[in-house]
């Protein structure tokens, strides 16, 4: 069997076809039916799904994902349990994991990347691993055919952004605002500004995440970006008791807003 297509290849092809990309996020294990939620998100038209591996000290995350991580760990969620579940699920879209570097470091970069690949995971976002520290992880991920996604922030100077884009794989995660993850009343001006700055600079799709909270905000971002990552808006509803179908419905609203953008 041919190995699955790389995350970057899948997403770039969709972008070339004129589609705005939708990558919803869910914290693995934050809800007993989290994997069902992943299925609903895929059915709702997600282009890839970001699965958070819970960490005890998620310093880039706001209250919603902190709480989701806490509940997931309290339920006994581990990297192994999540990857087992993902490996057994036959998901129609690529899975990208998001986690903090200590989980990678503890396992060892090569071993961690191998475990992701074995579970069918095609990309990884490690937000506390900036360019200068990322070399060994990028090499290990590349070996395992897992795309190491890198972040560009509103504070990143142009010369530095160029160096990041040169080694990023999968997609470029453009951080929409200076702050932690979480919903915001209005879209930050920095969300479109950071996407503007990156437009046309990379062969990879540029997705804006952090602070993209509503379908309308997603549509606004999609005017300048190739797509969005949406996390807290979905996870909050899951924590508040919404069922997977309700999450699917909200995801379809994001999908529709992006298709109309």
């Amino acid at each position: 069997m041919a190995p699955p297509e790389r995350l970057g290849t899948v997403l770039a092809a969709k972008r070339e076809a004129g589609r705005k990309l939708f990558v919803p996020y869910v914290t693995a294990g934050c809800h007993p039916a989290w994997l069902e939620v992943v299925g609903e998100l895929a059915a709702a038209g997600a282009d890839a799904i970001e699965v958070g591996l819970p960490f005890s000290d998620p310093m880039m995350d706001g209250p919603t994902i902190q709480e989701a991580s806490r509940q997931a760990l309290e339920r006994g969620t581990t990297t192994a349990s999540v990857l087992d579940q993902l490996a057994r699920a036959d998901l129609p879209v690529p899975i990208v994991v998001m986690t903090y570097f200590n989980l990678v470091h503890r396992a060892g970069e090569a071993r961690f990347a191998g475990r992701l690949a074995a579970a069918g995971v095609r990309g990884a976002i490690v937000p506390d691993l900036p360019l200068e520290e990322s070399g060994p992880w990028r090499d290990a991920a590349e070996q395992a055919r897992v795309d190491p996604v890198l972040l560009v922030a509103p504070a990143t100077p142009p010369e530095r952004a160029k160096r990041i884009l040169a080694v990023a794989r999968g997609f470029v995660y453009a951080v929409g605002l200076m702050g932690v993850t979480g919903e915001r009343q209005a879209l930050a001006a920095s969300a479109t500004a950071v996407a503007e700055r990156l437009r046309g600079r990379s062969s990879l799709p540029v997705l804006v995440g952090v602070g993209v909270s509503t379908p309308a905000q997603a549509a606004q971002v999609a005017q300048v970006a190739d797509g969005v990552v949406v996390g807290s808006a979905l996870v909050r509803r899951l924590l508040e008791g919404d069922d997977p179908a309700a999450l699917g419905k909200l995801a379809r609203a994001f999908r529709a807003a992006l298709d109309d953008a």
């Binding site: 960490f55 005890s56 000290d57 998620p58 310093m59 880039m60 706001g62 902190q66 806490r70 760990l73 581990t78 990297t79 192994a80 570097f101 200590n102 989980l103 990678v104 470091h105 503890r106 396992a107 937000p127 506390d128 691993l129 900036p130 360019l131 200068e132 520290e133 890198l150 972040l151 560009v152 922030a153 509103p154 504070a155 990143t156 100077p157 530095r160 990041i164 951080v175 200076m178 702050g179 932690v180």
Partner: protein
Amino acid sequence: MSAVQPAAAPEPLMADPGPSGRFGPFGGRYVPESLVPACLELEAAFREAWDDPGFHQELDDILRVYGGRPTPVTPCRRLSAQLGVEVLLKREDLCHTGSHKLNNVVGQALLARRMGKDRLVAETGAGQHGVATATAAALFGMACTVYMGEVDVERQALNVFRMELLGAEVRPVGSGSRTLKDAVNEALRDWVATVDHTHYCLGSVMGPHPYPWMVREFQRVIGDEAREQCRTLLGGRDPDWVVACVGGGSNAAGTFAGFVHTSARLVGVEAAGGSAMGHGAPGVLHGMRSMLLQDEDGQIGEAHSVSAGLDYPGIGPEHAQLGSVGRAEYVTADDREVLEALQLLARTEGIVPALEPAHALAFVVREAGRRIPSGATVLVTLSGRGDKDVAQVRELLRGAP
């Protein structure tokens, strides 16, 4: 006492770690991209300031006329007679605000001013660093927010009020273990969102580069002064042993910096319930690669100690290096030993130490005449005074079996 020879160290110890911020395999700068430019700006500002005699002049002046430096080294006559070793105390408890923390925050506040930042954010465990930061903010006319775990807010209520008196806002942190580790997370989250006008005034030799190096340099005044003072008191000799408590490890790093190139044995004393060196494994947290309490999956463990200032699952990366190459050793003291040492110093010398340096004393009390040979000279850094802990110690002693 013969010296412990450093095991063939490939790099000079306690030097400038260079742009990578590495101390051997430890250190580095593991922060989200949003914070990388701020860390680079801070490193550049610190390098420039540290090369500027004008900066040193201003810092030294403030620490002298405002902070009360130099602090003395006190020979402990009655305690030494009782233990059979010659104990000298470096008296950081006599610094303004009652601990060594002021040395670092005055340096960082001056840097913040040079960088045009008008707000300080800090984490605190026992409250000493929070009080020091609030003090520096008042002195320089800056806004100040201090994050403190809910558990610590409760056991250090008096320090919370002190910070508020000084004009700081104290924000209790209810996540995780609700102690120092979680206060650091929350301070970092604040900083990501406010970095354009806010300086993160980190309180120990931890965090992303340049903090571990910069804080050690701001604290090396402890070791530099103590070495001169010991030479005067000991007829030109250095002490045989140099002992300091270690949470993140700033007073120990500042102390060791003055003695790392002498023959003195360097000992860092951790809380038995929070021994990153004894029970930890290499990991990455709060911007650094160091020794961390963690499980098999890499989830961070929780430290448990009577002392809020030592309730931290990690240790500064330079200590991890000093320990791994054998230049310093890291040991523990348990809560019972600590309370006994605190009372012993109070009764023999009329000095009530904070619970944190009582760990360093507890090691000396336990090992005098055992690992520390009779007649040896021992310098202990008394990093802070015990006033903040009096109510807690009273409760502990009442509850003690």
